[in-house]
């Protein structure tokens, strides 16, 4: 589903002319299979958020290639990335990232609005989704009127309303108490099981990592340990085929 090969990334910091280059990721090869729950763990500054941001298209890698759902996405421009995100990804953020001036209903509706789905179809899908995450009673509430757990449910509903094949979650339980965290993890497992949605979860929480089929650990920008379902050779083969080459 997601394949990264030779991904390196570095940031430039400091004023213009006195910039300093800080390498964050070094030559990362990884793949995430369809229907997998993959947890990316590591200490702060290990580069796990950067890895997720590269998958999301919020930043571009300094080197390497990324392929998602059979499409090379590394060189997509901003507009194409936006369309790609809308079509393939759902996002769950640590701080929920709900729009404060919109109700829970409107927040969940937003991806459908962006996609140009009609009003009646939108209503049907949003109401169903709000019920699925057990937040329908709070549909007309603004984010400020909801608890952290409720906001995260709205965020999950928004990420799933377009029924994306992949959900990228950045510290999804970071702002939740243990009870809400448990509830969220149950929901993730259920969605993965029932709908076959692929989850890539950034976390430093072992509890969260425990629901994953596989855990990828990052250490100082390098993969510390990985138990790939496919070999590195098969990743190379995927890229060779995509580039029109042949495997010898």
């Amino acid at each position: 589903m997601i394949t990264m090969m030779g991904i390196s990334h570095q940031f430039k910091i400091g004023k213009k002319g006195k910039e300093r280059i800080v390498p964050v990721l070094h030559d990362i090869d990884l793949s995430v299979e369809k229907g997998e729950i993959v947890a990316i763990v590591g200490r702060s500054g290990s580069g796990k958020s950067t890895l997720l941001n590269l998958m999301s298209g919020y930043i571009r890698p300094t080197a390497g290639e990324i392929k998602v759902a059979g499409r090379m996405v590394t060189k997509l421009d901003e507009g194409a990335w936006a369309d790609f995100r809308l079509a393939h990804y759902g996002f769950i953020f640590q701080n929920f990232q709900l729009i404060s001036s919109m109700t829970a209903y409107e927040n969940v509706e937003l991806p459908l609005v962006l996609k140009g789905v009609g009003q009646s179809e939108r209503r049907k899908r949003v109401e169903k989704m709000l019920e699925n995450v057990d937040i329908a009673a709070f549909a007309s509430h603004y984010p400020s009127e909801l608890s952290g757990g409720q906001q995260q449910r709205v965020s999950v509903a928004r990420s799933l309303v377009l029924e994306p094949p992949i959900v990228l979650a950045d510290e999804p339980s970071g702002s939740l108490d243990s009870e809400n965290e448990k509830s969220l993890l149950t929901m993730i497992k259920q969605l993965n099981h029932e709908l076959g949605i692929t989850f890539v979860i950034i976390t430093h929480d072992d509890q969260v990592a425990s629901v994953a089929h596989r855990t990828i650990r990052l250490q100082d920008g390098r993969l510390a340990r990985q138990a790939p379902l496919v070999s590195v050779e098969s990743i190379k083969e995927t890229f060779d085929l995509a580039k029109g080459g042949h495997h010898s």
């Binding site: 941001n53 990804y89 990232q97 709900l98 729009i99 140009g116």
Partner: protein
């Protein structure tokens, strides 16, 4: 993203800071009102000036004054000249007036009627040229006539006309008797001619112009000439009673009805205003002195066009100043909503959608401002036209012509203002909208913008 949803987004955004929105729309409305009112003065003065110049005349008219003696042996416009004018391309009609040279003591039911001129004309040509009637129709039979608008006026004891006229339709169908004077065996005799009023001419545009004429067709003129034996019913004038021979001698000297007729007030009417110049030049080349209002209007219109462009330019500066407000409001809006924009981009909003939403918002501000400004302009224009003549009369003791307008807002001026305001608003919104599309997703998600 559908247009309806974009509008909903904009409406939600606009509700966030109503005071700021109101002030921006107000500034735009003021700019638009200033532009419209300023330009409307140019339009108003032009309209009033053109109306003053044209009066009752048509812009398609070419008045023939006479003939160049170097090119013609005969003076005065004669049948051959009329035929020539009629033969020209793009000529709609050739009208003329034959003034009957005796008063004929017009009366209705034995009561004398005060008339000015008795005029013979070609009604077919007049119909083409647009001879206006306030009631009835143009003559079709031999003894039918049209009377001038003011013939119905009744004079009071001091000889001033009454302010109210009897209905024109009441006069249609009345019989007017004309006493045609002529000489029979050296004696002045009178022969009554019964005529039927079939129409009443329309009111002259100028208030001071009093139409007390009688208009009749060629046939009736021929009838009168047959009675008098002279052209246009002209009779010799004697201070003392003449002898039969004296009368005979003088009548012999007057032009006969069968002789070459001289036409007065000859006017060539072009099919439309654009043909006037060509016809006038051709006639001039042939040696006919002529004049058309189009000549005068051309210069006046040119002057006012330059004036209007100048006024619109000055007015546009006001709208440009208002655009600073729109720019500021939109920049603030982008800054305030940076996080929301970031979230939208993060979940898949295309940059062009974000750009469109902000441009839509700035255009709506421009449009609201333009609509309010235009409505206010119409109100100001109405107030100026109603109030200024009174002020001038009171303060400067001068009276303006009736229907004089200082300010006129033609629909296309209102449309132009809306287009300018919309254009300026769109330009003002460009930079903030572009800025919105460039908001960095990660910075926005981290609340760093």
């Amino acid at each position: 993203m559908k247009f309806g949803d974009q509008l909903r987004f904009v409406r939600q955004n606009m509700k966030r800071n109503k005071t700021r929105l109101f002030m921006t729309v107000l500034a735009t409305a003021m700019g638009c009102a200033f532009l419209t009112v300023l330009a409307s003065v140019g339009f108003g003065l032009q309209q009033s000036m053109v109306e003053e110049i044209t009066g009752d005349r048509l812009v398609t008219e070419i008045t023939i004054y006479g003939k160049n003696p170097d090119k013609f042996d005969t003076q005065g416009i004669q049948n051959g000249d009329i035929d020539y004018f009629q033969s020209l391309p793009n000529v709609k009609a050739v009208t003329y007036r034959n003034y009957i040279q005796q008063y004929m003591d017009p009366s209705i039911d034995g009561n004398p009627v005060n008339v000015n001129q008795r005029i013979g004309m070609d009604f077919e040509a007049e119909k083409q040229a647009g001879f206006g009637l306030s009631a009835g129709r143009l003559p079709e039979g031999n003894n039918e006539i049209v009377i001038g608008y003011h013939i119905r006026e009744v004079m009071d004891e001091e000889g001033r006309p009454s302010s109210e006229l009897p209905a024109a339709s009441e006069w249609v169908g009345k019989t007017m008797t004309l006493q045609v004077s002529y000489y029979e065996d050296g004696e002045l005799a009178k022969k009554p001619l019964e005529t039927v009023i079939v129409g009443v001419a329309e009111q002259p545009t100028k208030e001071w112009n009093r139409d007390r004429n009688i208009y009749m067709g060629e046939e009736m003129l021929t009838q009168i000439e047959a009675i008098t034996g002279t052209q246009l019913g002209e009779l010799p004038y004697f201070e003392v009673a003449p002898t039969k021979e004296q009368v005979q001698k003088l009548i012999e000297q007057l032009p006969k009805p069968t002789g070459e007729r001289q036409y007065q007030d000859v006017t060539v009417v072009a099919e439309n205003a654009s043909k006037v110049k060509g016809i006038a030049e051709k006639i001039r080349e042939q040696g006919y002195f002529n004049h058309s209002i189009a000549d005068e209007l051309k210069q006046v219109n040119m002057l006012f066009t330059i004036m209007k462009i100048g006024l619109i330019f000055v007015g546009t500066i006001a709208v440009l100043i208002a655009s600073i407000g729109i720019f500021n409001t939109m920049t603030m809006a982008v800054t305030e909503r940076a996080q929301d924009i970031g979230i939208m981009k993060a979940i898949g909003a295309h940059p062009s959608v974000i750009r469109r939403v902000f441009l839509l918002e700035s255009s709506l501000i421009g449009l609201f401002g333009a609509i309010i400004g235009t409505l206010v302009s119409y109100a100001i224009s109405f107030a100026v036209n109603a109030g200024l003549p009174i002020m001038i009369e009171v303060l400067m003791e001068e009276t303006l012509p009736a229907d004089f307008k200082f300010s006129v807002i033609p629909p296309y001026l209102a449309a132009l203002t809306c287009v300018i305001a919309l254009g300026v608003a769109l330009i003002s919104g460009q930079r903030p909208a572009r800025r919105a599309t460039r908001i960095d997703v990660l910075s926005a998600l981290r609340r760093e913008v």
